[in-house]
Structure formats: C-alpha cells, structure tokens
C-alpha cells in the first residue's frame, strides 16, 4: 500500500470540505447547474440515466482490505448494495444522492480514498498493470512512477480545464504490456537504458485512444531519463492545453492534435517547451524516488519453496474444477512460492465487473487471510489477490467456490469487458450488459472455453468506446438502427504490445442474433486453427476475415 503522509491526507480532507461547500451552494442556488457541473465532474460525480454516478479513484488499482471494506460499507449505506469496477481500475456507484456525496467523500478520506479528477477535462487516474509489483516479466515496479504522476497531476492548476479528458498509463513490463499503454493519451513504458541496461528510464508514447477516432499511440520520446519524467509530461500537457482543439468535443483529444500535426512536428513542439523547463525544479531526485518507494509497503514475504511444479500439478490434477481455475485465474509471482490470483467478476449471467457489498467484504477477508491485505483492480474489471502462498491455492479455491467467486474464466472469451451501456448510461445507443450475460450463458461449457484459449471480448454500448471494443480480439459495438438495438462485430483488436485496432466484419446483427454470431466466430476459429497453440488473435491475423464472413454471412438465409 502507498502510505499517506500528512500532506496527502490534508489535501483530500480539504478537497472534501471544498466539495461540501460547492454542493451547499448548488442547493442554495448560489451557483447554477452549468457552473456546478465541471466542479462535480472533477469529483467524479456524473449524471446518468437513472441517477447520479460516483466514480471513486483507485490509483493504479491498488486497494487495502480496509479500503475494500469501506467501499462495501458505502455501497450498503449510500447506494443499492453493489458497486461496479471500471475499465480504468476505478470503482463506480450508480445510485448516490447529491446531498450524501460530501459524506461519502468524508468517509472515503478516512481510508485515504477520494474521487478526485475521475471525470472532467483534466488528468485522470494514472493506471497500470494489475500485476505491478509481482509480475515475473516486470523490469521495474511501475507503481512508484504512477504515484509520482498522481501527485503531480492532482490539482494541477494549469491543466484543470484541458480541451478534453487526459489519461495516462504506465507499464513496468516492456515485453508484456497489461496496461494498454498504446491506447492512452500518454503511455509510458519502463525500459532499460540504452547506455546502461542496469539502469532504466522511459519510452514515452503519445496520442493513443479509442472512442470515435481510435488511434494507436506513437513514440514521442524513445528514451527519457527517469529524473525528467514530470518535466516531460508537463511539456506535453502544456502543448496540448495551448493547442488542442476546443471547437468540437469529438475532435479535442490529444490524439487529434498529434494526428493533425504529425508526430514529428508534435514532438518538436514538446521538446522545445521541455528545453525551457527540463533543468529546473521539476527534476526528480533519487531521494524522492526513494521516499515514494519506501512509502509503498512491501509485504513480509516468507521464504518459500518454489512452487511452479506444484502449481503445474494442480493444473493437470484430478480435480478438474481446481485445475481449470488454476489454468486461467492463477499466474506466477516473482517471489518464489507465491502466485497472483484473479477473482473473476464475470460470473455467468451477471453484469460484468459488479460486486455486492457482501462479496466485497468477503474478498477483503480473503485478502487478509491469503494475501497480506492487498487487492488490485484489473482494468479487465476483475479483482486480483496479488500475493497468495501457492500451496494454499486449493484451499483458496474451495473458499471461493463456496462464495460463488470461482468462475474459471479469466482471460477467456467470457471474461467480458463491457461498459454499463444503455441500462445505465445516457450516452449509450444500445445495451451491453444483457449481451454480455447472454454470451456467458451461451458459452457455459468450461472445457470448450478453455480449449478456445485466451480471447478478449469487449462490448461498448456506443461509439465512445468505454468498453474498449476497438482493442478486443472480438469487439462488439452497440448501435441504434431505426430505434432498434443492433450490434457491429469487429475482429483482430489488441491492447497489448502488438496493439491493433479491430476491423468490422460485416453488417451489424440484431439483438437476437449477436450471441449466435459470436458463437459462430468461435466455431470458425476452432475449425480453422492450425493447432490449439495458435491463439485466436493469431488465427484472425493469419486467415483474415474470409472464413468468418463465409460462416456468418454467406450461410445466412437471404
């Protein structure tokens, strides 16, 4: 956990007082809704279809068990007994009352949580990899840099009214990006120094994003010394603040600016601005890196026997339920004897990414029992216990099974990433949650699911793409066709190091045909793949769309 100091705490307490005052002035009529709206957005409070929605920040997805218990308590006291984990590692409440929000923020502040800048045209939550700090393929734990960025961006006075929202992601694993850095406004990859591989710095990518104009980020700077991290980000933000379009909300993200100028010209402007500030007071010192690093509590790992063989044994063992769960939901850990466990919040038939207050409390308890009291929110909308003693995996699995939290589908096609869609969101054109649950019900054969291998399936209810459908191996976009819900199917997206945007397969499917269409896509893959080792994405890239079109369209009744 990142341990708050007196400054961190004071800031969130003062923020709570500020918002309390703003709410009072809204209710007294001193400020209008138009004036209040950006203020409430900068505290994560949206107006949605049925109610307000409060998005609480979970910096780089990291939670303590106490914090998760508090989130459960808030769901119970102020909401309808559940919460939704978002695609940017935050958590959302769908039913808060305006007058209760200052109280909610005050309660969050008691556990060092807040809703600062989770909406609005400002710098949002800096996200990372759900296995940050424990992954074997990680070069450096990126959370230190996420925290440094968080502090720099929180209440940054110059960048509170940007042309549009701004999202930053950091990955510490240069060969295995789980943070989707290439589809962020700024994506940062920790990489070895070209001059001295025992040191590290950053590759800075800029201009990625989804939405109406999806774009893969480009390299702004191929190597940045870590002491220059904040001054470089400041230069990028300043160029964006000064030059980003403000005439059209849909053309206002930095990706549009980068696209219009071209990356070389954009980089020139950034480097010119940076030259003026790089050697100033923003330079980070080793002391500061040390301080932030020490503020992250490292779990008191025991010295355990390596467990790879043991875990492999579970995977192939007689207990098939345990075996499947280990195969999909458990990954190796850099400390010998430990594993990282993902609890799937995508159970069959339920809205993806939701958890009841009871479930949150149970997971907090499990984190205390099995994982040093830490939980991480994955941007795939699942919860991770990052530090489980591998030899306790069978026991943990049994507990999770009792609690109905053992769905063995992490990374599988039913581990669906979906936006709330038309059931909740007033931007949506179609519902996404029912499509997700119907797909889950249609594909309920677990052996088949595992045979399909890793497939990402993303559903967005509108072109704003909060479900990240452009970067799903299978992407579904809900559209409105003459008042009816239709669904466009896309294939071949990826959010990882091989980032690519999916392409539309053909005409959209009506609501009662989309689930079967997905099933047919999967069948096409099973029949056409070279072997079980050729993963879905690779098959799509190799075989192209022809086999899919043939199965999905040519065989349809005229």
């Amino acid at each position: 956990m990142y341990r708050y100091d007196a400054y961190d705490q004071r800031l969130i307490d003062e923020r709570t007082a500020q918002f309390r005052d703003q709410v009072a002035r809204r209710l007294s009529g001193e400020i209008s809704e138009a004036e209040f709206k950006p203020l409430r957005l900068q505290n994560g409070l949206y107006m949605q279809l049925h109610a307000y929605m409060l998005r609480v920040a979970i910096p780089y997805g990291l939670l303590s068990s106490d914090q998760l218990r508090k989130l459960a308590e808030i769901a119970r006291k102020y909401d309808r007994g559940y919460a939704h984990f978002s695609t940017r590692q935050n958590v959302q409440y769908n039913w808060p009352r305006l007058q209760d929000v200052p109280e909610i923020l005050a309660e969050l502040a008691t556990v060092q949580m807040h809703a600062i800048q989770t909406s609005g045209n400002c710098i949002r939550n800096t996200t990372s990899d759900q296995f940050a700090g424990v992954a074997r393929d990680e070069l450096v734990d990126p959370r230190i840099y996420c925290e440094i960025i968080r502090q720099w961006s929180t209440f940054h006075p110059e960048f509170a009214f940007l042309p549009r929202k701004f999202k930053i992601a950091v990955t510490g694993a240069p060969t295995a990006d789980r943070a989707a850095v290439r589809v962020h406004d700024i994506g940062i990859r920790v990489i070895p120094s070209p001059e001295d591989p025992s040191n590290h710095g950053f590759e800075v990518l800029v201009g990625g994003g989804l939405g109406r104009t999806p774009r893969i980020a480009e390299v702004c700077r191929s190597y940045l010394e870590r002491e220059d991290l904040l001054s470089y980000l400041e230069a990028i933000l300043r160029v964006y603040n000064r030059n980003g379009r403000r005439d059209n909300k849909y053309k206002a993200r930095i990706k549009i600016l980068v696209g219009a100028l071209g990356i070389d010209s954009f980089r020139e402007q950034v480097e010119a601005e940076w030259a003026q500030i790089r050697d100033g007071v923003m330079k980070l010192s080793d002391e500061e890196f040390e301080r932030v690093s020490t503020a992250f509590e490292t779990p008191a790992y025991a010295t355990l026997e390596p467990s790879d063989d043991f875990v492999a044994g579970l995977r192939l063992g007689k207990d098939r339920a345990l075996g499947r769960w280990v195969a999909s939901n458990v990954v190796g850990h850099k400390v010998p004897g430990y594993s990282a466990v993902t609890i799937s919040l995508k159970p069959k038939g339920k809205p993806p990414g939701d958890a009841t207050d009871e479930q949150m409390e149970l997971i907090a308890e499990l984190a205390d029992d099995y994982g040093f009291g830490r939980i991480v929110v994955a941007h795939e909308q699942n919860l991770v216990l990052p530090d489980v003693d591998s030899r306790r995996l069978p026991e943990l699995h049994a507990r999770l099974t009792q609690l109905d939290l053992a769905e063995p589908n992490v990374g599988k096609v039913t581990d669906i990433i979906a936006c709330p869609g038309l059931d909740y969101c007033n931007l949506a054109n179609a519902r996404s949650i029912p499509v997700a649950t119907r797909i889950g019900q249609r594909l309920d054969d677990l052996d088949y699911l595992h045979d399909l291998g890793d497939i990402s399936l993303n559903i967005s209810g509108c072109i704003n793409a909060c479900g990240h459908h452009h970067v799903g191996n299978i992407g579904i976009l809900g559209i409105d066709k003459q008042g009816e819900e239709y669904y466009q199917l896309m294939l071949g997206g990826s959010a990882s190091d091989d980032a690519s945007l999916g392409k539309i397969l053909g005409p959209a499917f009506p609501s009662d045909e989309i689930v079967e269409a997905v099933a047919n896509v999967l069948e096409t893959y099973i029949r056409g793949r070279e072997s079980a080792d050729e993963r879905f994405l690779d098959y799509v890239r190799r075989a192209g769309f022809a086999p899919f079109k043939e199965r999905l369209y040519d065989q349809r009744p005229a």
Binding site: L27, E33, M47, L49, W95, T356, L422, N426, R431, E485
Partner: protein, 103 residues
C-alpha cells in the same frame, strides 16, 4: 399526432422525473403531462429550466399513447422510465419503497 413530455433529472438523486399538469414533477412517466402543441412544450421547457433546485437539464421527449397509457417512444427513454433491464441486485423492499415515495 406527435406527443411530447418534459422530463429532467431530479437534482437530489438524479432520478428521472416528468412534468405534470400541476407544474410539479412525478417519478412516473404515466402521470406526466402529454403535450401536442410545440409552443406550449417550449414554454414549459423554458420554465422548467428555471427550477434548478428540483430539476437538472430538462428536455422534451416523444411519448406515445396506447391502451396501456402513456409510454416513452424511444428505447432509451423506456429504459430510463423503467429502470435498468438487468441488475446485480434487485432493489431491496426498503429501497423500492423509498424510490416510490420519492424520499
């Protein structure tokens, strides 16, 4: 004949509310005032915008009349009037009551 209704989000809790003939708001679309005259619709919309303590961002929606009464014309407004079509939890009896009395 095209029918309209003025709707907004309640300032207190964001719930969808519908303008009644009395000038007050109801949670039930069926109890809202259907309007066929566009000038009247626009005038009521203007007036609704002034009541920011009660209602946020009022706008006009198309409604239809059938034997079952008034209903929203678009899918979005149907869902808005009826609640999410799928939910992790059913609202508890207490919450449903609170919603019904607009508490």
């Amino acid at each position: 004949m095209k029918l309209w209704m003025i709707t907004a989000s309640a300032t207190d809790d964001g719930a969808p509310i519908y303008l009644q003939a009395s000038g007050r708001w109801t949670h039930k679309l069926g109890g809202g005032l259907p309007l066929s005259d566009e000038a009247e619709r626009d005038a009521l919309l203007e007036a609704a915008r002034a009541d920011e303590r009660t209602a946020c961002d009022p706008y006009a929606i198309a409604v239809e009349r059938s034997e079952l009464g008034l209903s929203a014309a678009s899918l979005k407004e149907k869902i808005r009037a009826g609640g999410p079509t799928i939910s992790l939890v059913e609202p508890s009896p207490q919450r449903r009551m609170r919603a019904a009395v607009g508490a």
